[in-house]
């Protein structure tokens, strides 16, 4: 979440500090503003949330400041919350996988486009969806997927189906919508990594008799692996914490972690349990990301 802000700040400090030939200690000081920002606006509230998660909910006083593990016990003892966490992880994993598979060829094409102007246009087109809010895009998906939406009207009109399909409010719908949200992030991340892979390596591969496809699989893919892992980590974290998409596309019956946290904190004012769910969600996102990154590193390096 903090990356855009801190990188902006990083650039600001770079600019004001003058040429890059200054001695090292000054450079170390350059991270201080960003560090302060992160500490004050990210770490401190995060610390509070962790603290709240050990409090106890009371219908009258709302929060009793104690130190209790009851909330965590409830999350881990109750199959319901494990199922929600499991479903969230499953959906996030699947969306990430599909996103990366779709993003890889697109990123490769953009990266290998010779005309600088065309490349810029392709990048702008890729980023364009990010300028629209997530909720707006989800609303558009609702129009597309509804019982009398575009897809059903078309299929019914063509006589391909007799009864409208229920697409909206299913896990499939959430995965489709999430993939559309995640694609730009994955494409941009992968494309910048592929830019750094010299074309001469591909030419070397081809001169040794590799087909174009084999060149991509044997030369580009391994070299792009760090970018692939980074893109997957970003997508996975975004998908795990998604809110608007599960609420609008998944409907009330598809219960995922993001909406559940909101419901506990905002709807029923149970801050301690909401904080616990938030901590569990954060910890599992971090853990799953680290585990899968480790696995991929071991496999490919």
């Amino acid at each position: 979440v903090n990356t855009p802000a801190s990188s902006t700040l990083g650039k600001l400090t770079m600019q004001t500090a003058g040429p890059a030939s200054r001695p090292l200690p000054v450079r170390g000081a350059l991270v201080v503003p960003a560090l302060l920002l992160v500490c004050v606006f990210l770490m401190a509230p995060l610390g509070l949330i962790v603290r709240y998660s050990f409090d106890v909910y009371d219908p009258v006083k709302l929060m009793l400041a104690v130190f209790s593990l009851d909330n965590y016990r409830k999350v881990f003892a109750d199959a319901f919350y494990q199922n929600v966490l499991g479903l969230t992880a499953k959906i996030a994993f699947l969306s990430t996988l599909i996103t990366i598979a779709l993003a890889f060829p697109v990123a490769y094409c953009i990266s290998r486009t010779a005309s600088e102007k065309r490349r810029s246009w392709l990048i702008i087109l890729t980023v364009l969806p990010l300028l629209l809010g997530n909720a707006v895009r989800s609303a558009a998906w609702m129009v597309v997927m509804g019982t009398k939406g575009i897809v059903n009207s078309t299929l019914l009109g063509l006589g391909l189906i007799a009864q409208p399909l229920s697409i909206l409010y299913t896990p499939t719908a959430v995965v489709i919508a999430l993939v559309s949200v995640l694609l730009p992030y994955a494409i941009i991340t992968l494309q910048s990594v592929m830019d750094s892979i010299p074309v001469s390596l591909e030419e070397a591969g081809q001169s040794l008799g590799y087909s174009p496809l084999r060149t991509v699989v044997a030369v580009v893919l391994p070299l792009a692996m760090p970018g692939l892992i980074a893109a997957a980590a970003i997508c996975f974290a975004l998908a795990m914490n998604a809110y608007a998409t599960p609420v609008l596309i998944g409907g009330p019956k598809m219960q995922m972690m993001g909406p559940l946290v909101y419901e506990q904190i905002a709807k029923v004012s149970n801050w301690p349990f909401g904080a616990t769910l938030a901590c569990v969600l954060m910890a599992s996102t971090v853990a799953l990301t680290i585990i899968s990154t480790r696995f991929l590193h071991k496999r490919y390096f």
């Binding site: 650039k11 600019q15 009258v60 409907g251 019956k253 559940l260 419901e263 905002a266 004012s269």
Partner: protein
């Protein structure tokens, strides 16, 4: 990775980014500062609800007197959470907060709401006695009645029990947003009471099993469900049903013999409000007989005051008769506040799952 490429970003883009961040910070603080004195910050629901509030009350009766209204539009969970979160700050960010009576009760229990000085709200004298409260200005009220599509259901339903009629299996709509109303309705048809809802839980599980209801997140989506004939029957606030019918949806409201479950909407002043004088003027304007009459005609909710200016035709359509008002099932807000967290959990785990 080629980090040099990143450093080579054109300077202009960096400046744009920095400039954008700086202006965002400025606009935030600037707004905070400007909301301090002569302005009145009103937190309300958005959409047509707010449009009508502006049209019939805020613009003609408040802003015309030189009070500038700053609107913070959101849903009530956010509004509640905001007030709870800023209760320990020296000054709050909201001067008038619109709420339902149940939300206001909860916040008052937390000591967040101003106890009203009724001498500053002369129009309060006309509020129906049953609706009065020391910390809440009741504005409009309504009740949950049955909604049905006359195209498919020829004989109008007469009881909440008709929501369990197997003939409508698969064609029943449930509203997730106001799950508590469904708990109340189930309690009323299974021998429970408004302050004793336990028998309703088994009844709802029966509904889930035999009726296979469609669950909608919001009012708008339920309206769409009626419009595209996914559902034939549901329950919702009679005012909402009347609005949908007015918008051309084939839906009608039917009065349940158990009596509707009531809802009261109104406004409060948080203790930490910055501009209480203007807030009192606003609350008095809400109860203006002509303004509230026009608001009621447009929203189809009944006015909280006895002397609202309504045409006879509209009065018949939206106002509750004294017998109907007496038959309203009003929630016991203390009981509700104590149990709502548990109910939500039950609803998530047992009914929706």
């Amino acid at each position: 990775m080629n980090s040099q490429w990143n450093f080579a970003l054109p300077l202009r883009r960096r400046e744009v980014l920095v400039g954008a961040a700086a202006s965002a910070v400025l606009s935030l603080t600037g707004r905070e500062a400007s909301a301090q004195s002569s302005e009145l910050v009103v937190s309300n629901w958005g959409g047509d609800w707010n449009d009508r509030t502006v049209r019939f009350i805020e613009s003609p009766l408040v802003e015309s007197k030189g009070i500038k209204i700053v609107r913070a539009l959101n849903l009530e969970p956010e509004r509640k959470t905001k007030l709870l979160a800023e209760r320990n700050l020296p000054r709050g960010s909201i001067d008038v907060a619109h709420f339902s009576a149940g939300d206001a009760f909860e916040l008052n229990e937390q000591g967040i709401l101003e106890q009203l000085d009724l001498s500053k709200i002369p129009n309060y004298a006309n509020v129906r006695p049953a609706l009065r409260s020391p910390y809440f200005v009741p504005w409009v009220f309504g009740g949950v009645t049955l909604a049905y599509n006359p195209k498919f259901i020829k004989k109008p339903p007469t009881s909440f029990a008709d929501l369990w009629n197997p003939e409508y299996a698969g064609k029943l709509g449930v509203l997730d947003q106001s799950f508590y109303n469904w708990i109340y309705m189930a309690a009323l048809v299974s021998g429970g009471k408004m302050n004793q809802v336990d028998p309703g839980f088994a009844k709802l599980l029966e509904m889930k099993k035999t009726m296979k209801p469609r669950i909608y997140p919001t009012h708008q989506q339920m309206a769409a469900g009626f419009a595209n004939e996914e559902i034939w029957i549901a329950a919702n606030y009679s005012a909402r049903i009347a609005q949908w019918a007015k918008d051309g949806v084939s839906v009608r409201s039917a009065y349940p013999k158990e009596g509707p479950v009531s809802i009261v909407f109104g406004a409060t002043i948080p203790k930490k409000a910055r501009n209480k004088d203007a807030a009192y003027q606003y609350l008095n304007a809400l109860l203006d007989p002509k303004g509230l009459g026009s608001y009621s005609e447009a929203s189809m909710y009944a006015p909280s005051i006895g002397n609202a200016v309504l045409s006879d035709a509209v009065r018949g359509a939206i106002d509750f008769t004294p017998e109907q008002t007496a038959a309203l099932n009003s929630p016991d807000y203390g009981y509700q506040a104590k149990n709502i967290s548990q109910w939500q959990e039950w609803w998530n785990k047992e009914f929706k799952a």
